[in-house]
């Protein structure tokens, strides 16, 4: 199963640009398994961020998780103000408090420009960015969240296995 389309400029990335090792996560902000993966992936990037690039794509299971899509929209709106990862992290670090109000509080806490934020969250472009992430996930063989890809190939282990793999190949 391979990643379609490949990582591009429209993706949210962190770590080393154009690294030899590129990890892509398809995630849902309300998914408990993604919540459990978050600190492990965070640790991975802390340790190996100079050698690894990490990409996050949206895969909200909106019917099962009512705040997954609103959270994705808020994170994309934060991205328009250069604060995608701050919002991404803040949501996963506070996953148990997720609600629409809480997301608005986070926007305030991250000092997003309120006028721009309120306009952006209604933009069609944000909704279609999330849809196109979701569609790319389906076409790449994502079957649940989190789904991880290493250099474009689906990784069939958990985040802990990934951390182990990265620690071995960066030696």
């Amino acid at each position: 199963m391979s990643l379609k389309p490949a990582v591009s400029k429209t993706d949210h990335t962190q770590g080393k640009k154009d690294a030899d090792i590129v990890i892509v996560e398809y995630g849902d902000y309300q998914c408990p398994y993604c919540g459990a993966a978050y600190p492990i992936l965070k640790e991975m990037m802390k340790k190996y961020g100079t050698q690894v690039e990490f990409v996050f794509r949206n895969f909200p299971l909106s019917e099962m998780h009512q705040y997954a899509r609103p959270a994705a929209i808020v994170a994309e709106a934060a991205a328009l103000q250069g604060k995608f990862w701050e919002m991404h992290d803040a949501i996963y670090e506070n996953q148990e408090y997720l609600s629409e109000n809480f997301l608005l509080e986070l926007a305030e806490k991250l000092e997003l420009d309120p006028h721009q934020f309120n306009t952006d969250i209604k933009k069609l472009e944000l909704a279609s960015k999330i849809d196109s992430d979701f569609e790319s996930g389906v076409m790449s063989g994502v079957n649940g969240t989190p789904s991880l890809f290493v250099n474009g190939t689906k990784f069939n282990g958990g985040p802990q296995d990934l951390l182990q793999l990265i620690s071995e190949i960066t030696k």
Binding site: E63, M64, V138, M139, N143, G144
Partner: protein, 150 residues
Amino acid sequence: MLQKNDVAPDFTLFATPDQKITLSEFRGKNVILAFYPADWSPVCSDQMALYNEMLKYFKKYDAEIFGISVDSKWCHMAFSQSRNLHFPLLSDFEAKGETSKKYGVYNTIEGECNRALFVIDKNGIIQWSYLSPMAVNPGADAILEALENL
């Protein structure tokens, strides 16, 4: 297990406690059958949750999807409500596994359906089928590809 170009055997199964669905009533539409082992088990839940998000994509191909397992209609109802599913789960409950046996995807050791997918065209002919390992959620990419190829 039935393969491409086999005629899809007809069946009538409970979709809700008081409503039955007959496959042949869907002639003129494409149909996806997703046989799965059991309600509530984690992999199935992911699989059904994924299809639940995909309904608008299936609609584009004029396709209806039905989940099928040997669970009872009441079990399906509770499962469906808890996952907020918007497509029917059919109950292959009495005689147990009769429909899955017709499709060649009944697991006699576990007494459950295997995890198997069928794409049936508008004339009731199977155009694609796939048997997934029990513990692996097969995702939806291959279903979309099969629909694309119809």
